[in-house]
Structures are given as C-alpha cells and as structure tokens.
Symmetry: C2
Subunit: 312 residues, 2 copies
Amino acid sequence: MKEEVHVFAPATVANVACGFDILGFALEQPGDEIIMRRTRQCGVVIRKIFGDNGKLSCEAGLNVAGIAASHFLNNVQPGYGVEIELQKGMPIGSGLGSSAASATASLFAANILFDKPLNIMALLPLAMECEKAVCGTAHADNVGPALLGGFTLIRSYEPLDVVAIKTPDDLLCTVIHPHIEVSTEDARKILRKQIALKDAITQWGNVAGLIAGLMKSDYELIGRSLRDVIAEPVRSLLIPRFKEIQTAVLACGALGCSISGSGPSIFALTNDQNIAEEVGRIAQGEFQSAGLRSEVFISGINQNGPVLIEEE
Amino acid sequence: MKEEVHVFAPATVANVACGFDILGFALEQPGDEIIMRRTRQCGVVIRKIFGDNGKLSCEAGLNVAGIAASHFLNNVQPGYGVEIELQKGMPIGSGLGSSAASATASLFAANILFDKPLNIMALLPLAMECEKAVCGTAHADNVGPALLGGFTLIRSYEPLDVVAIKTPDDLLCTVIHPHIEVSTEDARKILRKQIALKDAITQWGNVAGLIAGLMKSDYELIGRSLRDVIAEPVRSLLIPRFKEIQTAVLACGALGCSISGSGPSIFALTNDQNIAEEVGRIAQGEFQSAGLRSEVFISGINQNGPVLIEEE
C-alpha cells in the first residue's frame, strides 16, 4: 500500500452552450493538485492549502477536498485516516468547476492510496455528493468530465446515465475568467422555470447537432450548433461586455463562444491555435475596457481526467 | 431525355420519441410509387390514383404529387408538362409521412425526367413548400428523410440545416397503424406552448443520448434515450390503448416505442426480427380488443431515400 500520492484533476466547462445541465468537458489545464498521505489517526486533516488567496477553509468538513476524502473513508475505508495538501491551480467561483476539481482530485487520490477499491465510475456518485454538499445540488456536469475526462453527456440522473462523447483531436478551448463574482445560486435563480416550446426545440436541435458534429469531427456543424437560447440570454446579463466579446470572438473565427458553467468565465472552441490566442486577447481587451482584470487559459480537451503525478 | 420514369419514395417516421420537430427516419416499406411522363401540353395532369380508397383528388392543384410537380416545373422547367400516375402504398393521415412520400416521389421523378437539373439537397426546399401547401407548415422532418434516406436531423430551419445521422445496420422498425383518424392540426393544437425547463432538459438529454447511441451503434443507449416527455404524454391520449401497447412492447424487448409523427401510428425500434414481429402482434391484439383494425409494417431503415424502379 502507498503512503502518499500526488494527483492532478482538471477544470471543466459545463453546459457548453446548448447543453444546459447535460454536457461538460475537461480541460488539460488549469486544475487542482492534491498530495494525500495516510495518517495513524482516523479521519481527515487538511494540512495546507496553496493558491486560494486565503479563501478556503482548512476545516475538513468545510472544504470540498476534505468532504470528499471523508465520504471516501466513510463509504469505503472506515477506520482509516488521511491528510491533505491542496494546491488550487484555478480560480474559485469562476464557472470552471473548482469544487469538482478539488473533489475529484481528493477522491482519485484516496482511491489510489487504498489500492483502488473502486473503479472510476464508482467514484462519480461520491463526487456528486460533494457537489451537493457545497452547491446544494448533486449535479454531474463538472464532476462527470473531471473524473472521466473528455466530453461527457449526463443523459439522465435517475438513474444516473453518463455517456462519453468522442471529440476531434485538435479541438482547443480558450477560457477567459473575468475578476467578478457570480454565485451559482444567483445564476440559477434568474432562469425561468417555464420556457417556450419553440425555444426548447431550437435548443434540442442544437444539442443533437453538437453531438453529431463532435462525433463526426465536423467543425462547421459544431460551430453552427454551439448556440444557447435558454440560459445564455439571461445569464449573460451578469457578465459585463459578454455580447461584445461573443460577437468579436465569433468574427475572428472561433467555432462558438458561450458561458462556462454558470459564469462568469467565458469559453470559446476552435481548432486553430492562433484563433485560440486571439480570442484570449479580444476578451481580455474588452474586459479591460470595462475596468476588469481577467485571466486566460488555452487548453486542449483533456481526455484522461485525473492523473497521478508522482509516487512516493 | 427520358419520356417516362417510375419511382418509389418511402414512408417516414418523424419525431422519433425525444426528437420532436427535429428528427425523422425513412422506412424501406411502405411507400408511394409514381409513374411520370412528359406531355406536349405544359402543366401537370394526374391521370390515375391507385390505393387511396378514393380519398385523394385527381385535381393537380389539390393533390400533393401534382403540387410538387407544378413546383418543380414552375421553378426549374417552365413551359413543360407532365402527367402522373400515383400508386399510394401507404395509409393517408396515418402519421407516416404520406404527403411527404408523394411529394418526394413526384419531385424525384420530375428531376430524373428532365435530366437531373437539381441535386437531391436542392429538392428539399421544394418538398418543404409542398408540406406547407398541404399541412400549413413547411416542416422537413418527413420530407428530409424521405428525400435523403436514413436518419435525418433538422438542426435548424433558418437557415435550413439538415444533418445525416449514421444508424446501425440491423435496426428494425415496426409500425402499427390503427384505423382511426388524428389530424395533424389537432395533434399540434393540444401541445402546450410553454413547457417546464426541467422537462426540456430531460428531453435534450435524451436527444443527445439518442444521437450518440445511433452513431456508436449502442442499442442500450438508444433504448434508454427513446423517451418523450413533451409530446407523447399529451398526444398519446388521442390513441386508444397507447400506454398498454407501449408497456407490453417494451416488456417484450423493443428498444423503444412511441408515436410516429403526430400519430395515430405507433412505432417501435429493435435489432431483432422476432421482437419486431412480436411487437406487431401485441399492438394489433391491443387495438383489436379496443374494436380497432390495424395494419403492421416491419422494415429496416431505408438508407437510400427515393429510387428509380425502371426506365422506359
């Protein structure tokens, strides 16, 4: 049995324009790292947290990495204990699945530390429980792709039905994170509970087109399908310059551009490195002119999910 | 130039459970046949109609095969004339795309008769105009698959975006047509114009699952995805014994079972000939116990669309 493991788990983009509440994909970077060690005492201790600007609690029950490790121990290895060092490599509350990355890293680390009693799919319900503990709902559109890698469809929750969707090799994602806060709760509250059948049909036509485009490596179809007529028109109001950025990003050749998760981060997909970089410059410039600082991440689609970085 | 052509165009199943207004597929049988001949006089004459039990008009402007031929001549070959013999091989008003089959056969025949001035995709807008003339809306979920064959996604109407979806080779469809009438207009009127976001999410999760399942040849995923929470719960009220038939058909091993188009026909998909036949027996028995006669069609997915039967 190992005494210490060091793992990485990726940031994720949920919703993906037309796929509200059912689609997400994993990024190669950014992501969170965790070093986890066995301890003699049972239970979970968080030793250190880096990269969070002091935002996160070191109390194991108040931090999603700690909650995840506790879930794992309670469900799979009762009577054992671990300690955690968490390196946040991504902004918190940015719409990039920060809690999902930490929960995934923690569960993945614990599973390796105890000689893989569970397979990856069996970690998913535990990861969803962590989302419920910190966000209020056991959604899987971040933890699904964070754990499984790639592009993930959550077809159904009852029963849970998660489907891996093949993506073209050279798909690139630019994420721009403006330094404003949008709470997931607020972003969910402003959505209407009733929608027009006409809009729903538009959305499911686009969802079908996106899945077909990804599986056929048809970039034009992917681009035509990356439209959201349900959440984006409302949620984009919470993101300064969203419309200007989207218009300019599409004009410069990106396949599509929408809100990552519930925001405030914006993502764009392309299959061209130059366009991916230009998208970042355009968006950063727009945010700057609104007086906002922002960070840019450019990444391929992460096909692996969490990985072991080094062993003791 | 040919003087006479004889063509076949297939029946189609639109909506396909979760794909309301965006999906359809073509059947190998039944379908309509048309013999079309050039005439010296310009314009369109319908010479004979067989197999319609006297239901259809021989007035070219009142019959969709005549309307289609007129559209073709007006748009592509002005000053020319044709005469038509129409063999209806499928029930009218059954939810199997009867008007789409006749329009498709007529356009396909005229295009061959005049040495293919248009490609198949260019016939689609003309076929949609025919649907508008006879049904009130220029929908493409029957004429799309009737013309292109296979499983067809209508991602968008403005602009028109039609995507062929690969299907597994051994998919079989059983269609059961009960002898009752459901008008497309009534079936459309009873749908609510506003739907719950929750239900819309369920539906687009299933649409995404169905597309992925078809493209992966994953029969279980196809089966899990063939659910309609939007149109079927309302429209099935117009079809006696629908729920009993659906329950029994799924219990006997069909992948999925729902309403074909706006009904009253019911379709089920399977990859097993024995189950396809048993589905027909079950449904016919249920309809019979409700005092209704019905016909059963068992067919593979038609990958060709309309075909030339013989040349002069």
